[in-house]
């Protein structure tokens, strides 16, 4: 009895198998024709780390947090003359060298997470293979150039919490709008 149901099911299975392969043939194949056609990568792809050097304060947090110690930062202090007479002179850090050794980097993204000034970004760019491992250390110029390939951040989900910056901005506007009415009351 069991054997019979099996044998009748087997014939159906054979036809089904033929159907699956034929249907697959009529559909478009999923192959990415990579060198000819660039792949469409998701926005959060971890291809390479790009640097926005204007935002970097050489605080060294990224270099210290890096588990592989693959970030090299050199900087020097520069004195800015006081903006007004009698004021105090300010010093600021000037970034001389910012390099990431991608032969050591394990693409954990901790440096990007830890950067307090949003100077580091993930880019989906991945075509930076080299023939020699020593050429995998990429300097500031290259890292800055990769900024162009950083995609715009994905839109916030419609039901997500409002970004903190927007909340702060709206509160400021409301405060400014309320302030004159308080004045009105005071005069009346």
């Amino acid at each position: 009895m069991v054997d019979q149901t099996r044998s009748s099911g087997r014939g159906a299975g054979l036809l089904k198998g033929l159907g699956v392969t034929f249907k697959t043939m009529t559909k478009r194949s999923i192959t990415d024709q990579y060198p000819d056609v660039k792949p469409e990568l998701p926005p959060r792809s971890r291809g390479v780390i790009a640097l926005m050097d204007e935002n970097c304060t050489s605080c060294m947090l990224c270099a210290r947090e890096c588990p592989d110690w693959c970030i090299y930062i050199d900087s020097h202090k520069e004195t800015i003359p006081a903006p007004e007479t009698g004021g105090r002179e300010r010093t600021r850090n000037v970034l001389d060298r910012f390099a990431i050794d991608f032969s050591l980097c394990m693409y954990c993204g901790i440096c990007i997470e830890v950067c307090p000034f949003d100077a580091l970004f993930w880019s989906p760019e991945f075509e930076y293979a080299e023939f020699d491992i020593r050429n995998m250390v990429h300097e500031k110029e290259r890292l800055v150039a990769w900024m162009e390939t950083v995609p715009a951040p994905p839109a916030v989900d419609s039901r997500a919490e409002e970004p903190k910056e927007l909340i702060a901005a709206r509160k400021a506007v409301e405060k400014a709008a309320q302030a004159p009415s308080v004045d009105d009351h005071g005069e009346a």
Partner: protein, 316 residues
């Protein structure tokens, strides 16, 4: 003098068909199999959708070193690819493509073809024995058992058609063929096609060359051109099987509206696609499944077909 020219012309045409049709089937296999697996297949060789891939493969094979293992039985080992390939070339001569379009009409065409095709398998057995490799030997023994099991239904199914047409000549069979034979000879056609697949070691009957188990069976030790000849023999075998099936069971060049060699080739082309289709769809049969299919499935069906053919012939 004119007969000499005629013979030479026939030989050249058959040789050209022998060298191009297997490549066409191979290319179709590349592309159809790729798309059935949601891939694209060769895309670069030749520029347009990899049409020259098999030519490139051939050039590559020709450049490779021809190695004969030290322990091999050198003469048998070197002869095996030729023994595997040449029978199919000889068979091609006797298969009619269109009315009057045949290399050489043989009176007992079916006998001739079945006998010569049997030799082709001998090449694989020779290769397996002479390679001095245990995997090759296992493959050859599997091949032998498969041959024993499937040659019988193959011949029985062909005999049914010969009986129906009352002639052993392939041209005679096509001339006697009528469309309702499609139904009458259907079981025989299916048995013939499946048994033919098994003789060619096509998946799902590729146990003798099962690459995941025994490397490549009898072909394990072969390199370069000799290996390419074995592959060519496989694809020439597909061409021969598909042409034979369309000539014996599908009416050859008979077709709606007009009769032409185009029909034979079209029918054979569709069958070749089915060969590839089956390869992609089914996993390899185990040894016992293979034997059971032959002895408990195909041979009884072929015998019943013979009975049916005989009864209908006598009753008509």
């Amino acid at each position: 003098m004119s007969t000499v020219v005629e013979v030479a012309l026939h030989i050249v045409v058959v040789l050209a068909a022998f060298l191009t049709l297997p490549l066409l089937v191979g290319q179709m296999e590349h592309k159809a199999m790729a798309h059935m697996q949601s891939r694209v297949g060769p895309m670069y060789a030749g520029g347009f959708h990899g049409w020259a891939q098999l030519i490139a493969d051939g050039v590559k094979f020709a450049q490779k070193e021809d190695i004969t293992p030290a322990a091999a039985d050198a003469r048998v080992y070197r002869l095996a690819p030729a023994v595997a390939l040449i029978p199919y070339l000889v068979v091609m001569v006797a298969i009619p493509i269109g009315p009057g379009l045949i290399g050489q009409d043989v009176d007992a065409g079916i006998f001739f073809i079945l006998a010569v095709m049997g030799i082709g398998v001998l090449g694989t057995l020779m290769a397996g024995w002479a390679s001095a490799n245990k995997y090759s030997l296992i493959g050859a023994v599997r091949q032998a058992s498969q041959l024993l099991a499937y040659e019988l239904p193959f011949v029985l199914a062909a005999a049914s058609v010969a009986m129906a047409a009352g002639t052993l000549s392939l041209v005679g069979i096509v001339d006697a063929w009528e469309p309702w034979w499609l139904l009458w000879q259907l079981p025989g056609a299916i048995v013939f096609f499946i048994a033919g697949l098994a003789e060619l070691n096509r998946p799902p009957f590729d146990m003798p060359v099962a690459d995941a188990e025994i490397i490549f069976g009898p072909l394990t030790e072969y390199t370069g051109l000799r290996f390419a000849l074995f592959l060519l023999a496989e694809y020439a075998g597909i061409v021969v099987l598909c042409l034979l099936t369309s000539v014996l069971f599908l009416g050859g060049w008979q077709g709606p509206i007009f009769d032409s060699w185009v029909w034979t080739l079209a029918k054979a082309g569709v069958l070749a696609f089915v060969v590839i289709w089956l390869r992609v769809s089914y996993p390899r049969l185990r040894a016992d499944q293979l034997q059971r299919l032959a002895w408990q499935g195909l041979i009884p069906v072929a015998l019943l077909q013979l009975l049916l053919t005989g009864v209908v012939r006598v009753a008509w």
